[in-house]
């Protein structure tokens, strides 16, 4: 696969990429010698047997597709021996790979029968597939690491909110029906002590009582006329008057008249306080 061949091997030395196809052209594996101190570090960085195999192949500039199994197996075993000697935590996966390599090697050594069809396949095929797949993942991981990312390469702006921003609180919606039902519910439960019914007239008187209370103050006298709205007509005046009487009766307001036919003034509060 052309794509595969052109993928640069990350652990490769900075030499021109020159493929040596076939074992005859390969230099002797002199670079297998690594100072013991460095060896420990190197061995520790392998992400498993596939990673180690890939390293060996790339280091020797073998073509992955023509995997020279004998050489690679020999070198692999040397590394595994070194790992054991250094008492590195040797995962079972490394030994499993050693067994796989030995098996492939022995099958390749068997004489090839001429009547054997090509479909039988190269015993190395599965290993080659796995190596390619792993190399792809390894490269993908490197590409992902190189991808600009938050915290390291990209930073998110912190823009302050103007002081006038306050979170919008959405109040629950209430329907008039809920209010009415709540009222009748409360009234039904209170029926044991409460008996009177609510009439429209009483209601508007009560509303007018609230209204008057919101107008008159404790500190100032309000002229009585100010509490009537002529536009409301006769019935409006009556309602206001009834509300006033009710408020006086409940001692919520009091009225004062300086003399006969003088202006009547209204003030919040009771007589006792004065």
């Amino acid at each position: 696969m052309s794509n595969e061949a052109s993928t640069p091997a990350p652990i490769q030395q900075p030499l021109p990429l020159a493929f040596v196809n076939g074992e005859a052209l390969i230099e002797k594996p002199e670079d297998l010698f690594i100072p013991p101190d460095a060896l420990e570090v190197i061995l520790d960085t392998f992400e498993g047997p596939l990673d180690l195999l890939l390293y060996l192949i790339r280091k020797q500039k073998f073509d992955i597709t023509t995997l020279p199994i004998a050489v690679v197996t020999k070198q692999y075993m040397e590394y595994v021996d070194a790992m054991m000697a250094l008492k590195l935590e040797l995962a079972a996966e490394y030994l499993l790979m050693a067994a796989i390599l030995a098996e492939i090697k022995s099958r390749l050594l068997l004489p090839k029968r001429s009547d054997e069809s090509d479909d039988e396949g190269d015993p190395r095929a599965e290993l080659i597939r796995r190596l390619r797949e792993y190399e792809l993942v390894k490269n993908a991981a490197e590409d992902l690491d190189a991808q600009p990312r938050l915290e390291r390469d990209l930073f998110i702006p912190n823009v302050a909110l103007s002081e006038s921003i306050a979170p919008v609180r959405v109040d629950p919606s209430v329907s008039l029906a809920e209010i009415v039902l709540a009222f009748s519910g409360a009234m039904k439960r209170a029926a044991a002590f409460e008996h009177h019914t609510i009439e429209r007239e009483a209601l508007s008187t009560r509303e007018r009582m609230s209204y008057i209370l919101s107008i008159v103050t404790k500190d100032q006298f309000t002229p009585l006329e100010a509490l009537f709205t002529l536009e409301e007509g006769k019935s409006g005046v009556v309602v206001s008057f009834l509300a006033l009487l009710e408020l006086v009766k409940e001692q919520l307001i009091f009225c004062i008249q300086a003399g006969p036919y003088a202006r009547i003034h209204v003030k919040l509060g009771s007589h006792e306080e004065d």
Binding site: F155, I156, L176, L203, E207, L268
Partner: protein
């Protein structure tokens, strides 16, 4: 010390003010991101002024606060930006609705009177919520021992329910008869579509 061209310098200062977690002063800029460059005070001031001008027509502004420079959203956009932090208040409880209903139908009314009808105490929270929503207000004090506060509904309350006056409040009895008579009443549907708030 390295040199840097003005365009790059401006980008760097701009990005630094943006990504810094707090407002950043000119001195802090010089000590951190500009550390390895030779940047004259005059140049830095000029850049900051330019940036402030650049952002004048934009949705965010470069402002100077006590501890340095920072970007902040344009004041005029607040009413809409606030919607990014919208939170929905929980639905009102039955206690809340009954209290509101009693105030509406029996105003002016004291808390004690509401408690008398409902048979349970009215929590301060309920009164606070209703007052904050602008539906209920304190209109006076009842001249009885203790001078308890008198509550009434407000104009906001009437507006919310599209009532022109309290006398438009449906009488509870009539309403019940009506709902019993027509289950699929269209007028009920209207009632359920209370305005979605001013």
């Amino acid at each position: 010390m390295k040199k840097i061209n003005t365009a790059q310098l401006k980008q760097l200062v701009e990005a630094a003010i943006f990504v810094a977690e707090k407002p950043i002063s000119k001195q802090e800029l010089k000590d951190s991101v500009l550390g390895e460059f030779e940047v004259a005070d005059r140049t830095l001031s000029k850049i900051v002024n330019e940036l402030q001008r650049d952002y004048q027509p934009r949705g965010i502004q470069l402002v100077e606060v006590a501890s340095g420079y920072r970007f902040q959203s344009l004041d005029a956009l607040s009413p809409w930006l606030s919607k990014l932090w919208q939170e929905n208040a929980p639905k009102y409880s039955r206690a809340m609705l009954e209290t509101l209903a009693l105030i509406a139908y029996r105003q002016p009314i004291t808390r004690g009177e509401i408690e008398q009808v409902r048979g349970v105490a009215v929590s301060s929270n309920i009164m606070k919520t209703l007052t904050e929503r602008g539906w209920v207000s304190l209109v006076g004090h009842k001249e009885v021992p203790g001078r308890p506060a008198l509550y009434a509904t407000t104009k906001t309350f009437l507006d919310y329910f599209s009532l022109s006056s309290l006398s438009d409040l449906p009488s509870a009895d009539a309403f019940e008869t009506m709902t019993e008579n027509e289950q699929s009443s269209s007028s009920l549907k209207v009632l359920n579509e209370a305005p979605s708030n001013q």
